[in-house]
Symmetry: C2
């Protein structure tokens, strides 16, 4: 089956808003095994829309529209598509009542032109809108399907999940199940390890990369939910066999959620001590609801004075080793753990750029410290000539992974564990390298 | 003049990436006074691309392509468009040398198929790529123009600014000048004040809103740079007359840049004390290069114990007034200013949700404190039933605006200034309300 996505709205053609609907629908259709041939964006213009619909109808099995369902004269998607699909529109009492209810609930006054939104297909079906006023529509003609949804992203996504997706599954005689693996590491490393697993047709696996981590989405298409779930799980196992503990979690929005969950499960507390990331790690942790139970103290020690005063980093270390050194990172983490009375603490100190780099300490050099009951892990990152923002994101991701591994008692790759005595000694004498 | 935007790339049709290029180009073309009739996305398929180009060429003066200029067999935009525009391609030594240089600079090995990227129009023009390997192309045929640029957003944006935009201006016999006003406040308030100023045709003014602030972009089209600049400035003046000090800056990426600039200019230092935002304000400030000169200390005091221990908030206040109170906000700010030895400090304490709300202290209630030489400002925000993320963003924006107004010595709207003595007294007795 093939599809085309048609977004209607002059505000898209003016660049006032970003078309995220087209990406959402493309991804969902790909998962359903439906090929998207083209995406189009047109304005609220009857002639051009009609021409486009007639052409698209000749070429594809399914046309998916978003936008143009509003109450104003400009909004003419429904009328135009109805005509192209040899259907007509009728006034629907129930839809009108729902629109009235929606206005009453949100305390707004309804205008007469809202009657237009209550027009639904005569032969086709209406698609209820659980998030707004305009119902969607479903037309069929000559083996071709037209599905009309609102342009507001959350209304469209809800209608897709509640109304459209189940109907398309039924039509295709299948169900889908998806599973998302979150993997610590850069794209090229992950691709070199598991690149061959992205070739599969069912289940499919797709990779999306962010600073310092990748998201792998596995989707299986089967006759029933149980088989789809099983097929997903079996395919995920192939990734676990190769990537091991680099897979930090499943179906979470980010590693900070994993860390907060682990701390909560184990009844432990963590603290942060940040220089180059300036509060980014603390901010990510506290973005998770419930973080207040397990994260009480964060230190943003941007100046040497702050590192000394709040975290007890030795002035001798700051002078002789500088602030960007394994010794400073270790003392920051140890100091934060102790000042906060926490079970774990992570620290970051480095050169985020664009200025401040030297040949010995280039932009992108970051030291992480990780204090745990056994001592302090120190890890050196060379994040290269990336932007300040990407360096900070990448470093924060690595710090959260260090925290995760400490809580789980896992070894930390490419890092060294110093004993509490060695950290204490580093106040006078640098670590041996 | 009318244009169509054609994005080429199977990854777009699969939903793997979001099409930000179409929005960028639509906005730029609108500013140039060129109407975008349609946007299309097609895969790397010769037949479908050819059909689309032939149709689009009949309907518009300018076709703008992004993507499909890479070195692989799949990338066939240039060949297809050349044929539709009755042009041919030739091997270009200079372009080839630039590709070789780019590979040498980035330490990668060139493959034979990179020769394909050095093919340029015979009758048309090549468009140098300052950010990557693939040059763009410019074809003209029968009064219609085809402009081919890479799909990678930063390569495309650079080529647009350096090569395409100047040529289109010359063709249109005009220049553009833009100016961006950053305004503190929500969309409905700003729209109620200056909504009528968005109707103008030249200069145009467009508004984009983010949490707690809006961005107003004014663009003037004139025969020369000087007149365009003047026309922009005059139109901006109309906004200043109505919005006054709510306009916090021009042409900056965000209020944190304004705050760091002001602190640097005045040789002052600021500190932060955050509860509900958990480091977000510190993180925003330290995202600005050079922040280290004026921001030395940040405190993330998520627990009551941390507020007492690090900032000296009175235990009596935490018990009787609770952590989410004007007294706590004031003492946090005063404590941070003093502990950091800073000139200014801002504090935030509130309920970000989704849990933790009560009828007296609902989700979205946030108190800001602002310590300055004259005393401590306290401001109460009611951010309502928004998401945790939006509440935190909104609160951080307000805190940075409070900091800005203190540095400038401006009054803070809807806030109250307590004297140092009143703040001291609040450790024993709540503020009078």
């Amino acid at each position: 089956m093939t599809a085309q996505i048609i977004s209607v709205g002059t505000e898209l053609l003016l660049g006032d808003i970003l078309n995220t609907n087209a990406q959402f629908l493309s991804r969902e259709l790909a998962a359903l095994g439906i090929s998207v041939l083209q995406q189009h964006t047109v304005g609220d213009n009857h002639g051009r829309l009609e021409e486009l619909v007639e052409e698209a109808k000749r070429r594809s099995d399914i046309l998916i529209f978003t936008g143009g369902l509003g109450p104003t004269e400009d909004d003419l998607t429904k009328e135009t598509v109805a005509a192209c699909f040899h259907d007509a529109l009728r006034f629907d009492e129930e839809a009108y009542r729902q629109i009235q209810d929606h206005y009453a609930r949100t305390g707004r006054t309804m205008t007469p032109n809202n009657r237009k939104q209550a027009m639904v297909p005569v032969r086709g079906q209406k698609l209820p809108n659980s998030q707004g006023t305009a119902p969607g529509a479903w037309f069929e003609d000559d083996g071709c399907l037209a599905i009309l949804m609102p342009g507001v992203p959350w209304e469209m996504e809800a209608m897709w999940k509640e109304q459209v997706y189940p109907r398309l599954c039924q039509k295709a005689g299948c169900v889908l199940h998806s599973l998302v693996l979150r993997v610590q590491g850069g794209e090229s490393w992950i691709d070199s390890q598991v690149g061959h697993l992205f070739e599969s047709e069912n289940p499919t696996a797709a990779i999306y990369c962010k600073a310092g981590e990748c998201i792998i989405r596995i989707t299986a298409r089967q006759a029933d939910e149980e088989s789809a779930r099983k097929s997903c799980r079996e395919y995920a196992q192939k990734f676990y066999e190769i990537l091991g503990t680099a897979i930090y979690d499943e179906d979470v929005p980010g590693i900070e959620h994993t860390v907060i969950r682990l701390l909560t499960e184990k009844g432990k507390k963590a603290a942060t001590a940040e220089s180059c990331t300036g509060g980014l790690v603390a901010q990510r942790l506290t973005a998770v609801p419930g973080a207040s139970e397990v994260f009480h103290f964060g230190f943003v020690t941007y100046a040497d004075e702050a590192k000394h005063k709040l975290l007890g980093v030795s002035e001798h270390t700051l002078e002789t080793c500088t602030a960007v050194s394994p010794e400073t990172a270790a003392q920051m983490a140890a100091g934060a753990k102790s000042a906060a009375g926490a079970d774990y603490a992570v620290s970051l100190t480095g050169i985020a750029g664009p200025g401040g780099g030297t040949p010995q300490r280039p932009v992108g050099l970051v030291y992480l410290g990780g204090a745990c009951p056994e001592g302090v892990w120190v890890k050196k990152l060379m994040l290269g000539q990336r932007s300040r923002d990407v360096i900070r994101q990448w470093a924060s991701q690595q710090a959260l992974d260090l925290l995760r591994r400490m809580i789980l008692g896992q070894p930390v790759p490419d890092a060294r564990l110093y004993s509490p005595e060695e950290v204490e000694q580093s106040r006078q004498t640098p670590f041996e390298s």
